[in-house]
């Protein structure tokens, strides 16, 4: 079994690197958007809140694969129209944008719940102390929100990591696609798909350990 994998080991590891790139890229994209939009979910009047609610409902009910296809094929059409000449979206960008857009919806829900659990007194106290609304959010609300959201964020990271395998379907040569290629070339599908699965499991387990550590580190903050 080992002599079958050995010639492809470098390729698999390169694939793993790209997998991490896609997953990390879309997770960060989703998280940044979610942090920016999270305060909007708390305001009662803001019409944007309704838009966000609708967005979350749609994303939750539609397969990730469909979103990837939409961005991959649709992006090419939009960009071709905009630029005037044929312009193809590469699978990496399409993957990061699509999975980021999906992660954004779930992360927004996680942050919304975390935000709601912060007592109103915190906000009032910050304002009474003379902090501006912006300072209040950055220095008082944001750190508490992220800390409370940490278990949810860790979970979502694992989901994004596993969803990144779907981008292989539009041709991105990440870990999954590399295994498909190796499996086809060697006629040893079981060997390569099991190896890929083990690599994913290893990254998942490592990430879980890191998040558990971070949670423990941050817990004393909360009295």
């Amino acid at each position: 079994m080992f002599d079958v994998i050995a010639p492809y080991a470098t390729q698999l590891l390169l694939g793993l690197l790209l997998t991490l790139k896609v997953a990390l890229g879309s997770f960060v994209l989703g998280l940044v958007l979610a942090v920016l939009c999270a305060p909007l979910t708390q305001s009662r009047r803001n019409p944007l809140r309704k838009v966000l609610d609708l967005y979350v409902t749609v994303i939750r009910g539609v397969p990730e694969l469909l979103v990837i296809f939409l961005i991959f094929y649709g992006g090419t059409i939009v960009l071709t129209k905009l630029s005037g000449s044929y312009f193809e979206v590469d699978a990496l960008t399409a993957g990061i944008v699509a999975l980021g857009a999906v992660a954004f919806a779930y992360l927004l829900e996680i942050l919304r719940a975390a935000l709601q659990s912060i007592p109103a007194g915190q906000r009032e106290a910050a304002l009474v102390l003379g902090l501006s609304r912006r300072q209040m959010f950055v220095h008082v609300i944001l750190p508490q929100m992220l800390q409370r959201a940490l278990p949810g964020l860790g979970n979502q990271w694992l989901i994004v990591l596993k969803e990144s395998a779907l981008v292989s379907i539009v041709g991105l040569e990440e870990l999954m696609r590399k295994s498909v290629i190796a499996a086809g070339a060697t006629h040893h599908p079981l060997t390569f798909y099991l190896s890929a699965a083990c690599l994913y499991v290893a990254v998942s387990a490592l990430s879980s350990a890191i998040f558990a550590q971070a949670e423990q580190r941050l817990t004393p903050v909360q009295r």
């Binding site: 749609v58 469909l66 599908p189 699965a197 998942s204």
Partner: protein
Amino acid sequence: MSYEILMAAIPIVWDGLWLTLVITLSAFVLGQVVALPLAMAADARSRFVSAPARAYIFFVRGSPMLVQLFIIYYGLGSLEAVRDSIFWPILKEPLGCAILAVGLNSAAYMGALLRGAISQVPDGQGEAARTLGLSPWQTLTRVTLPQAYRYVLPVLGNEITLVMKASSLASAVTVVEMTGAARALVARTYAPFEVFTVAGALYLMLALGFAALFRAIERKTAIPGLSGNDA
């Protein structure tokens, strides 16, 4: 967006709907059937029972479903022992593999969830049931599980939506369910927005339908006097 293409896409994508439903419902049922013994095995006293169950949950939850689908469809099919076995009629069909992959994946998540739900039921209830002379089987089916399942019911509605979304992976092994039908149509018409909007809307409709169904079940099975659905 062209209105004509949108309208023309509806019947074609709709044709994939029933396969999406077949995969979703069969995989969901398979997941539920496997999840319970898995959850109980994971908490069994004997290590020889609990260790494999826990390892299964760990590995399935730690790797992408697409890999699992490929392991089942391409991987198992490459083994001669599998091709000679009685399971071959199912494993040689992409549809059967898709249902198996999605179902077994769902089972791992549900198993972990049920484990938590069962441990939520206070120990005193089991002791009380034994004192009243109930057999272990009666205790399980009459006391523990009714409470555990009420506890997981809100999550079950969520799970069937996740299974429905996962059913789209079947298109990766040539099953022409909704996503597969939509993608094939895009290849012909080159109208991704119209076609994927139709597919997305149909998926959303199914998801909202499942959500409504499970809310109704929750209301029906709620115990009067207990707030919400948690016991």
